[in-house]
């Protein structure tokens, strides 16, 4: 009976995984007349290579610091060290990832693939923000729509609606909402503040683009998790609540001692599902920003697709997929361990 589904699993999941794993150790191109060669760990090295460099500030002839326009000390340009400098061969081709001041000196954390590093950090950030927020918001909504009121199904439908719409469409709509000149959000904020609000180019600013994307993503899928929470809420026997009422428990006490313990399995499910979905962040990036401005909205899956397909570098894309697989696998194992049944 399981035959057909096993075949499908093998063809669409297991085989591609082993292919990606194998290809990540080669220089395979999407299509190329050149033969494929085994290159060992080179793809992973070029993704994960990091280095540090400490630079002293520039000084004039008498030893005084040369200050920039903003009054801060100035430093020699990094490219003097990272481009064909025979004294720093281990930094060749690296770029600044992050830098900070340490006393007078400036410390640079360099990476051979800054775009990948930003995608990695963004993806983790996305998961860390979306998982708790979306889960909590969904639970709140579920508690609200779990009441026996007239027309409660209408509210359930409204909260669930964004889930039914394709992410591509939602992302396109939110691009209009976030528009820097006459977008809905800017217009609304200007209206609420009687014109005092200055329009923000939400998706065009490095400081707001990723936050805007996170907010929109939470909104889009919150209805789905609300329904899961709701089904969990409805499995809690009514007599437990009755008992709590008789004992004179407050609403908070009822939630902490009746509702939450009854939702334990649901919570594990919701947490794991959100984490998985969040790691797969792609559509929003592709439709809304293409990873910009200045890589502030890059994600791992987007980079895997960009490289494998757009840049025709299947080996590079595969290497990212393999890394993503290892990350998700280890996080799943940790979650399994933390949420295991204690006897």
């Amino acid at each position: 009976m399981a035959g057909p589904s096993l075949v499908i699993l093998a063809v669409f999941l297991i085989l591609p995984f082993f292919l990606a794993f194998g290809l990540s150790f080669t220089n395979q191109r999407l299509i190329s007349p050149n033969p494929t060669e085994y290159v060992g760990l080179r793809n992973f090295e070029s993704l994960l290579g990091v280095g540090t460099l400490t630079l002293e500030p520039l000084r004039g002839e008498n030893g005084d610091l040369i200050l920039g326009d903003d009054g801060a000390p100035t430093y020699p340009r990094l490219r003097g060290y990272t481009r064909n400098n025979p004294d720093y061969p281990h930094l060749n081709g690296m770029r600044e990832w992050i830098s900070w001041s340490w006393g007078e000196n400036r410390i640079y954390l360099l990476a051979s693939d800054v775009v990948f590093m930003r995608a990695l950090v963004n993806t983790f950030l996305f998961v860390l923000i979306v998982a708790p927020l979306q889960g909590a918001l969904a639970l709140g909504l579920a508690l609200l729509v779990n009441q026996k009121l007239k027309g409660i199904n209408a509210f359930r439908a409204i909260f669930f609606m964004p889930v039914v719409v394709s992410m591509v469409v939602v992302a396109l709509l939110w691009r209009f909402i976030y528009d820097g000149q006459n977008g809905l959000l800017n217009t609304l904020l200007a209206f609420l503040t009687f014109g005092g609000f200055k329009p923000v180019d939400w998706l065009g600013n490095t400081s707001t683009a990723f936050g805007a994307m996170i907010a929109m993503s939470i909104w889009q899928a919150v209805g789905f998790h609300m329904v899961i929470w709701l089904s969990g809420l409805q499995t809690i026997p009514e007599h437990l609540y009755e008992a709590a009422r008789i004992e004179g428990a407050s609403r908070l006490q009822t939630f902490v001692h009746v509702t939450w313990p009854g939702l334990r399995n649901t919570a594990v499910l919701v947490l794991i599902v959100i984490t998985m979905q969040a790691f797969a962040l792609f559509t929003q990036v592709d439709v809304m920003t293409n990873g910009g401005p200045i890589d502030s909205t890059q994600s791992l899956v987007y980079q895997a697709v960009q490289r494998g397909y757009g840049q025709q570098d299947i080996a590079g894309g595969s290497a990212i997929s393999v890394l993503l697989f290892l990350i998700v696998l280890s996080i799943s194992l940790i979650q399994r361990y933390l949420t295991r049944e204690r006897t």
Partner: protein, 421 residues
């Protein structure tokens, strides 16, 4: 006549009608214009219909894809071994597809296309792979009245704006306070537009996407002194709010110049008819500014070719020869305003005959056009160039961004063993 006889009659008639169609070999053709300009699609459909009716050996079937997904569809089809017989291909991409063996050389003697504009013929490795029914050109859309009001000199082909003149004009237009932005560069169009429309600026500054003398490296060309000078100016356009940046809304780009929100627009001849209708004699199509190394615009547009997988290259070649007749070149030009590929066809069109309203684009093509780097590595380099220009426009450090792009392009060339150069 009995019912049976009627039925037999109908059957006989339909069989007779279907007869020739059954004998014809089907040629599949893919094209990038789904959801785009319907006039272009209609013209293609007309040519295909007339070709299918003109002979009984071949029947071309057209399948259209949205432009944004077209190249990916071709790549995917090539990987899966499902390429159609005839494809259309963007000029600068062609070397990649020829090198990757998606395409085969045209089995048509080159003399057939002796009169075609150079930008319409796609060569790789000394062989002709693709031929275009039109070329395209980019110009600075402007209105005479606006320039005169602001005391800005109207440039000519012989004496285009210099960098200082152009920059001063933008500042003046901004200071007039009448426009949202003085210049619309179509930064919303994050596809091939960036390298097509903006790499000529870089070339006019004296840089390039790759070093064309060897095609082995981008070092020096994309991150040298000239390129950094270009990058700094480019960044300042957005810092000084002289042009809308990367988050520009597509709707604003489509209507902004027509509605007077933008004073100038860097746009292609395919969009020339609408403003011409609206502004009439006031409408100007100005040559590219000269940023120091001569004014430059991009050349080569979409062209027809035959896939390597095609088992019917002879039939496909017949179709391409049929489609490249002057009357069809003229038909396309009349439908969408593109530059017809031959002078004979140009005389048959409304806009490009002597004294025609768009004839100026002909001269622009002849005087300023420069093809994008002819190398299979262009596909990768174009993406890096686009990212670099977006990032610089968004405020990234100019030298570091250009360094990164140059390194990535050079590394890609090495990874591909020099791309057959």
């Amino acid at each position: 006549m009995g019912r049976f006889a009627k039925l037999t009659g109908v059957l006989a008639l339909t069989t007779a009608l279907a007869g020739p169609a059954l004998a014809a070999t089907e040629l599949s053709m893919w094209y990038h214009g789904a959801g785009g300009d319907s006039a272009e699609r209609d013209t293609f459909a007309r040519i295909i219909k007339e070709f299918n009716e003109s002979q009984s050996n071949w029947e071309v079937k057209l399948q259209a894809f949205p432009q944004i997904a077209y190249n990916d569809a071709i790549t995917a089809a090539a990987v899966a071994g499902k390429l159609p017989d005839i494809i259309d291909v963007d000029g600068p991409i062609m070397p990649n597809w020829a090198w990757s063996k998606y395409m085969q050389p045209l089995p048509i003697p080159e003399e057939k296309f002796a009169k075609f504009l150079p930008g319409t013929l796609g060569h790789w490795d000394g062989k002709l792979y693709s031929v275009g029914l039109w070329d395209a050109a980019v110009a600075m859309y402007a209105r005479k009245s606006v320039l005169e009001e602001n005391g800005i000199r109207i440039p000519t082909l012989d004496k285009p704006w210099t960098l200082e003149e152009f920059d001063a004009a933008l500042v003046k237009l901004k200071d007039s306070g009448k426009f949202d932005y003085p210049l619309d560069l179509a930064m919303n169009d994050k596809g091939e537009w960036y390298p097509y429309a903006f790499s000529p600026f870089l070339q006019s500054f004296g840089g390039d996407i790759v070093d064309r003398s060897t095609y082995k490296t981008a070092e020096g060309a994309l991150n040298g002194e000239a390129a950094v000078k270009f990058g700094n100016w480019w960044q300042s356009l957005f810092e000084r709010k002289l042009a809308p940046g990367t988050s520009q809304d597509t709707g604003d780009h489509d209507t902004g110049f027509l509605e007077g929100k933008y004073a100038l627009q860097w746009n292609g001849n395919w969009a020339a008819l609408k403003p011409l209708d609206k502004f009439g004699d006031d409408m100007l199509f100005l040559p590219a500014p000269d940023f120091g190394h001569g004014p430059k615009i991009g050349a080569a547009s979409w062209q027809l070719g035959i896939s390597a997988a095609s088992k019917h290259a002879d039939g496909a070649a017949k179709f391409i020869e049929f489609a490249t007749q002057d009357k069809y070149l003229a038909a396309f030009s009349n439908a969408i305003g593109l530059i017809p590929a031959t002078a004979e066809a140009a005389q048959m069109t409304e806009n490009y005959k002597d004294g025609g309203k768009l004839a100026v684009f002909y001269d622009l093509s002849a005087k300023q056009a420069l093809v994008r780097p002819v190398t299979p590595g262009y596909v990768f380099a174009a993406k890096e160039f686009r990212k670099a220009l977006s990032d610089i426009a968004d405020g990234a450090d100019v030298q570091d961004t250009l360094d990164a792009a140059a390194d990535a392009i050079t590394a890609d060339i090495e990874k591909n063993s020099g791309y057959g150069h």
